[in-house]
Symmetry: D2
Subunit: 337 residues, 4 copies
């Protein structure tokens, strides 16, 4: 078996996560990882994983003819230029979500990808989650008939720091964007209308930064179904990731994953441990799976499971949600471009 040689741009939390998974994938050689800050710890970690080299210049990756695929895990504002450069260098691309905070720039990046004829996969890892994947299968197999309602609950255990909030693009673009993709994935239909309500209930500082921390977002789908997403930056009991698709012949629900099934009964109550704390625990397997499938597509051909258009559509919905919140009205998706 020929191995795929890859480079990873960005050695933050998510870049390192992909690096660790890729270094265990027997189909892959991790040639280079780049980051703007290189530390001794980073070098030691890379050596331990058997990564060939560490650089502070991403061009060492894009310019390396031995590298076939690039993982773009750097800050969001760099995604579009890096995609364009990588595509023009003929490299397949795995890019974290969102591609950009401006869907028009995303469209530009996709154009470059198309012209270059390379693969681009977007990091909507939740599509690979065992629970959501099963729900989607059930919907697609027609077991609940035609979808009438799609409900998504998506709440983080704790809000990010102020520095992150400032550059995040806001709750819709940073957090709900996963849910916008999930809505399309579960319903098998495009979103046509968005109405969003937001509030600052968790931390007033978030409001001072011009963002919200709590939201309810209404969706309308091309197939006639209705949808609703609720978000909070702080569920004190842990990561809350549940969905329901209700249809003409039934309903499928997905509950949270817990670290164990132990249940204690005492004189006070019957209780169990909280859900898995956050995305690294809950989506551990899905991060492995999404990149494994990306490599499979390069090796064996075929379409990537989450493509650039998926990123673009989710970004447009996020933009429509923001517009809806500002203008206090439902927004049609075809108003966006």
């Amino acid at each position: 078996m020929d191995k795929i040689t890859i480079g990873i741009i960005g050695a933050g939390r998510i870049g390192k996560l992909h690096a660790e998974h890729m270094s265990r994938n027997r189909q892959v050689v991790v040639q280079t990882i780049s980051d703007v800050f290189i530390t001794d710890e980073l070098r030691a970690w890379a050596a331990e994983l058997g990564i060939g080299s560490v650089t502070d210049n991403y061009k060492d990756i894009i310019g390396d003819p031995s590298i076939q695929a690039v993982f773009i895990c750097s800050s969001t504002n760099t995604h579009v230029p890096f995609i364009v450069e990588a595509a023009q260098a003929g490299k397949h691309i795995f890019c974290e979500k969102p591609i950009s905070l401006d869907y028009r720039q995303t469209a530009e990046a996709l154009k470059a990808v198309k012209e270059a004829g390379v693969l681009l996969q977007t990091g909507f890892n939740r599509r690979f989650d065992h629970n959501f994947k099963r729900a989607r299968e059930i919907v697609q197999d027609g077991k609940i008939g035609s979808p009438h309602l799609v409900k998504i609950t998506s709440r983080d255990p704790a809000p990010p720091g102020e520095d992150y909030i400032k550059v995040s693009g806001g709750l819709f673009m940073d957090m709900a964007i996963h849910d916008f993709d999930m809505a399309r994935y579960l319903s098998g239909s495009e979103v046509t209308e968005v109405y969003a309500q937001g509030a600052v209930l968790v931390n007033p500082v978030i409001g001072e930064l011009g963002d919200i921390d709590t939201a309810v977002i209404f969706l309308k789908f091309a197939n006639g179904a209705l949808g609703v997403i609720d978000n909070s930056r702080q569920a004190v009991y842990g990561y809350d990731q549940r969905i329901e698709v209700f249809g003409s012949e039934g309903s499928v629900t997905v509950q949270n994953d817990h670290p164990n099934t132990a249940e204690i009964s005492t004189k006070d109550s019957v209780s169990r441990d909280n859900p898995k704390y956050f995305f690294l625990e809950r989506y551990h397997e899905s991060y492995i799976d999404e990149t494994r499938q990306f490599i499979e597509c390069i090796v064996h051909g075929g379409e990537v499971p989450v493509d650039g258009r998926d990123a673009l559509q989710a970004e447009k919905i996020a933009y429509a949600a923001k517009l809806s919140l500002q203008e206090r009205r439902p927004v049609q998706l075809d108003e966006i471009d």
Copy 2:
């Protein structure tokens, strides 16, 4: 103990239900029941229950000086005149929901009640449900902190007939009105804004009659919380009645009641029986409790647990929802009167 003597106007399904419960309440004498259609079956049923007399004239109840309280279970369009007459006759009143399809008329009826100084309780029986009552207690005890989100799922197992749909006042007034009351009950706060989306996905005839069968309704509360209700006229798996209140310190959820806890594991799946089929099974105890408490209030004094203003507010929210759907925009509650 002195007994309370009551009369029941309307011997349809719900009038008979209250009659059966009241006839088993040792504090109550059911003196008379009236209906526009009197049959031999009705007479036999009344005799069996020990009800004193059956009449086709509701004035035999309102004009009877021995009767202290009247249960109004007749068709919605009669509620207001009957309330006014009963109040003027000095009788306490238990009235089914909604009081009327026009909140302005309801306000008129409440005025008459106030002037007469009688008690008026509205039939929002779900407040007496073991599950919702417990959720409300948990919220009021501060166990989940300040409410941020209130979510209500309320789906019937099958749509009513066309004849019923025609006079029902529409999904918001007929069905969601319970959920509007539940939203106020659970959040402990008034609704200030409504945005409603509706669709005809279950049965096109419902659309032809100018109604919808599927809805998602957004609420905003005076305390800053957000709310969302989803409704369907047809959940093929049975009556779906779940809620969640999410707050700063946690969340409380209520699942459906099932007829038993038996779970079967076979080579195909692990399964259990569907939820209780419909309101008569699910809310059996709550119907007993609401009328028992009404009688208690008459006997021992005190305020009724669900008063006329609760009816009025729910009707205003229903009206706002209808307006929102028609005008495709969020509606402020203070636009309504």
Copy 3:
């Protein structure tokens, strides 16, 4: 409809329970209730229910030619003589469990019943429980194939007082006897072998009285299946009543009933209220059902759902369990008599 006239012997907790249910049954006239201790409270309670008379002489019931059926709810040591007298007087009999602490005497009583040709139903109310009834249906419908294992967990929330322990006949006869009946009911097969282990872990006083408070009991059934019962006099979290029947094609389990479905998630855990506290809450409906069916059998004919032989078999198993514990060996049921 002709009404059945009944008398109730014994106005303790269970006698009063049956009296309340029977007084609401439209097919029944409760003519007389007897107890060795008559108080003003008892008289007032009986008057309230519309019970004709109160007496301290059970012969006023057995000797009353207008009475067709007798409920025997007095202390266990009186059951056999009362059954014999009632049978000889031609009255149908509902008798609480166990019929006696000596299965040979029970056999004598059954002989008298047979000779008189009257109906005798035993108070194994759990057969009428919504959960266990459903489990039995599933087994009988063949959905789990041939039963291989029957597992019964039966734990009280708190031990009875010493006075009760002294006359109870011991844990096997007093408490596990319900489970012995349940084992026969669920498996559809007779018990052929018993091996019992017991311990005093809850309260040493129970041991000093010659009883145990914790037990594990093995059963072998005629159809080849194995069974196991575990008992405790004290489950601090409430009444614990679960079963499982495992077979060649699957398994059915029954979990506890809880007072509501509310679940709270906080930073500490996800929790819910404890199971229903004790038999009056958990088996409320089953007590109504068992007596309703007894009356139905008198009115319409047919066999009672739990007959004298069911009582006798359960008592024999209890006896075998006691013998097994004493002699530390498995005991064959056919050693008993």
Copy 4:
């Protein structure tokens, strides 16, 4: 960090499993794997994993001075001689369960281990399972008070083939041995008495081979608690691995793991996917954890989490169970040697 060099004897399913996990462990070098049957597939698989060499002679491992630890995953009858040889060669040992079918030989092996001063860990992987570990923690933290009852359900999805049955040592030694260890692990106490019941209900061929396929096993613990294990070789709905520890202050239960949390409601029922099919799915993480901890002990010192005495005690209980079944009587553990 210095790496630990290991050799693996036996390249069957479990040997290969450990090899795969160890080859991903950065603290480990897998030097050699041996098996009596060497195929091209095995060589390719080993090369892929980076295993240094493949041999058909286990002595190439035990005689290799660079190897510090040996994993014994060969057939049970070879465990004792291999342990003795490996210990005498000064190598740490990880040995699959049971160490032998004859607890006296196991004792001999342990003597050799002790004399050599090497570490020996036994493959009771279930102690590392997320569910059971959490249950044990809860018990040890005193959250359920003193244990009164330990209940273990352990059922395989399908019986092994006849060839395996023949050499397995029987259900108690082959299958229930995990449960005997679990009983000691959960209760924190030694087993003092065993009473076993067995039946052939799944497949008569198993009976013809002198084995049973269904069992209920009673245990008595030194701390006064009682225990019960139920086993079946065939649960058609999948691997059934549940436990309960009930005590003076409460109870902890562990339910099965399922592949996802999706639940489908249709007009027929509410259902979910069966539990994880078998030990490779259910105990995937625990296999990784047990060997990771073994390596940690070698690197950092300290006692192994499951030692030779744990193996010996479980084997003695299995022997006692067999004796109990044969002689149809409870057997005291101190009868065994």
